[in-house]
Assembly symmetry: C2
Homo-oligomer: 121 residues x 2
């Protein structure tokens, strides 16, 4: 699969794909005889995972750490699990924070709708 196809499939830019490869989140992707990337199924699986985690706000730094551990083999399984568990906690907290904000936002909108808005921002 070419970079263009992958980019379209996952709705991201060629640049981002090359950037992820440069920082080591994926690849190095195999290149054909004339130096053009040809993404494998395995590459696609990784990109999907990375994209999903990024969309949840997990930093590239953390994802890189996870990938590096994976590359080191089975001996890092427990460490990887712990890393993911930490990110799970952070993510749960973030979702809670956002849900709280959403509730406040909804409440404020309700005040607007019912014209009960006070004088404050």
């Amino acid at each position: 699969m070419t970079i263009k196809e992958v980019a379209e499939k996952f709705n991201m830019t060629n640049d981002t794909l090359r950037y992820y490869e440069k920082v080591g989140l994926i690849g190095p992707v195999k290149k054909n005889s004339s130096g053009i990337r040809d993404y494998s199924d395995n590459d696609l699986r990784r990109i999907e995972f990375i994209k999903c985690m990024r969309s949840a706000g997990i930093s590239i730094e953390v994802l890189k750490k996870y990938v590096d551990l994976y590359e080191k083999g089975d001996s890092t399984k427990l460490e990887r699990q712990h890393l993911l568990e930490e990110e799970q906690e952070k993510l749960e907290e973030k979702i809670k924070t956002m849900t709280d904000a959403l509730d406040k936002l909804k409440y404020k909108i309700e005040l607007y709708k019912t014209d009960k808005l006070d004088k404050y921002l």
Copy 2:
């Protein structure tokens, strides 16, 4: 209330408070005779709102727009309501995205815990 007290109360830095003031999210905050900020209750209310919305990822640009509309008076009520409704939608989508990622993360952790991990990242 001094800038330090406010910063502590909301767990943010003096710099961030001055920055928010500079870009017009709050204030201008009243200063005492020797030029030192003295935050009013109203300032605190705003800061709390801004902080809550920022923690949900709403951009400074959008918040600034909301504040500016507020400053223009009652005639902007409907526009403000619409702005908030848009942010509500965006926020709901973001929470959904993050919840989906969280589910995948939990599933992956479960694979680690039960040692059913396949060969992929």
